[in-house]
Amino acid sequence: MTQARVRLADREGFLAWIFLTPTVVYVVALVAIPFGLAIAFAFSDVTAGDPSYDWVGLRNFERVFDDPVFWRSLWNTLIFTGISMFFIVVFGKVLANILVADFRGKWVVRFLVLLSWTTPVALSSVSWLWLLHSIYSPVDWVFRELGFIETNTYWLGRPNLAMASVIAVHVWRLVPLAAVIMMVGLLSIPTDLNEAAKIDGAGYWRRMFEITIPLTFPLIAVSALFGAIFTFTDMAVVYILTRGGPTNSTQVLASWSFLRGIGGGDIGQGAVIALFLFPLLLAAAVLILRAVRRVETI
């Protein structure tokens, strides 16, 4: 008997290794090492034309910091993410409640609502390019027909409007994802709790704010985190809608890094710009996770 048990335990140790190692190796090779490489590039003079590696110390950092576009991008990135996250969480919560509700035609509604998240971001952004077109925008057409405006709004041509447009597209895209995540939270609240609250005299809003939201808070935080990550690190929407313009008013770190690194061929500078994504993301993640831990119950 003891012989057999030793064998089984051995196999478990071996299994644990063989199950986990491929993933670890893969991730180390294709994430950790490139991460280190990116840091190394930041201190080098590597360009697309001259890929030889030469150490240049902090020269790239100086060049990047001297460029006002960088600071603009950093600021824009923070604004985008903050505002988007707020709307994503609020609308996502409302949508989550709609997704779990019971009504006629709910499957059709669920399908329609998912479209904005499931479609490839590049394709839907191209769609929005026309929807917000300076001449042909259907949005403008509707407003003109309703008499709200006389001439077209240059959605993507004016700095503040362009910002708002990019934020709107991000929110439009990510609300369904946030809703699905929060929906999981809603579904895992035991039905007795809601019923007990009803009997105890709580109306709809009190139940929502005192029972439902506190209990789904961890998943609300998770959806906020995903929203932040997807907005913060995304360059597709900006790249396709505005290329960062007009005059860099919608430039974000991710798109600027791409334009500098691949478009301009200056890998070193591109790497510096991109590196700033990491600490900010880390800070956001830590903050959100800490908030979750504090509220964590059963």
């Binding site: 035991p190 007795d192 709790l193 019923e195 007990a196 609250a197 009803k198 009997i199 105890d200 005299g201 709580a202 109306g203 009190r206 005192e210 029972i211 506190p214 209990l215 509220v295 119950t297 059963i298």
Partner: protein, 348 residues
Amino acid sequence: MPVAVELRNLRKRYDGGHVDAVDGVDLATEEGEYLVLLGPSGCGKTTLLRTVAGLEHPTAGEVVIDGAVVNGLPPRVRKVAMVFQSYALYPHKSVLANIVFPLKAEKLDRAEREKKARWAADLLGIEELLDRKPRQLSGGERQRVALARAMVRDPQVFLLDEPLSNLDAKLRAIARDELKRFQERVGTTTIYVTHDQAEAMGLGDRIAVMDRGQVRQLGPPVDVYDDPADTFVARFIGSPPMNLVKRGGTLVGFRPEHLMPAEHVQGEKVPLQFEVDRVEYLSGDRHVYGTVTGLGEDTRVIARLPSMMVGEVTEGSHEFAVSADRVRFFDEDSGLRTDPVRLGATGG
């Protein structure tokens, strides 16, 4: 002032259901009584309870609380309190916050709310637990918190949905005792749902035995036990259940504790041959299994004999008897009680 709850011709069918979960129930509680709804799962007892609470809407019929028809009114207006099987304590709130919660719907200020909550906690003996969270409490403590929360709004009716099922056996007996004494002290009309007949017998002032959406019998434990209205009630109540022997279109019934060696039966008695094949030794009794002949069809029955008597009972055939006034008769087809049938009783 305790109130009465009345159900008039209540019917409930769920959307897409093929049968009525509740099939024409007429029931009225006395003021301040402890009424138990007893029955197997699916009999409709929980549906009935939830209909009184306002969590389900009846398909037909009326729910009346304290003389007012409350159909269509949401739970919070009905001034009822409910204790769920899981206790449904709000896991993210402290015990005190749990108890205070129902009071927020009333127009009381914070200090008054807390005073009432502490009064309820005191009543249940849980004052030291007020700062804890539900997950830090034992099963018995959670029940008391649930009761305190139920108490705090001075409800007209207590509704309890199998609150003892989640407790282990030893705790269940203690909790049962506490529950009964608690209810006697506060005097609120209580409707209690359970599938455990021993629990029902121990707790109820009256028991409504339910099966498949209908109330088969309503009465105090003594009546339900001694004078079951049909074979369902006869077999559901009592452990071991009543023995039933077929005899030409009638079922003859007698409880295991009334089947004993003939010489121990006083007065008019019904004799029968008892072929014993197995004896179970339980704490105070012996359960004797065997076949009864001479009464009707040969039937396997159980006799429950006090341990003092068993020395005399071994495997083999014995002359047993049942006291004539303990025998009950049921129609074989309908299961309902019928008039007594001549059995050729002797003695008396």
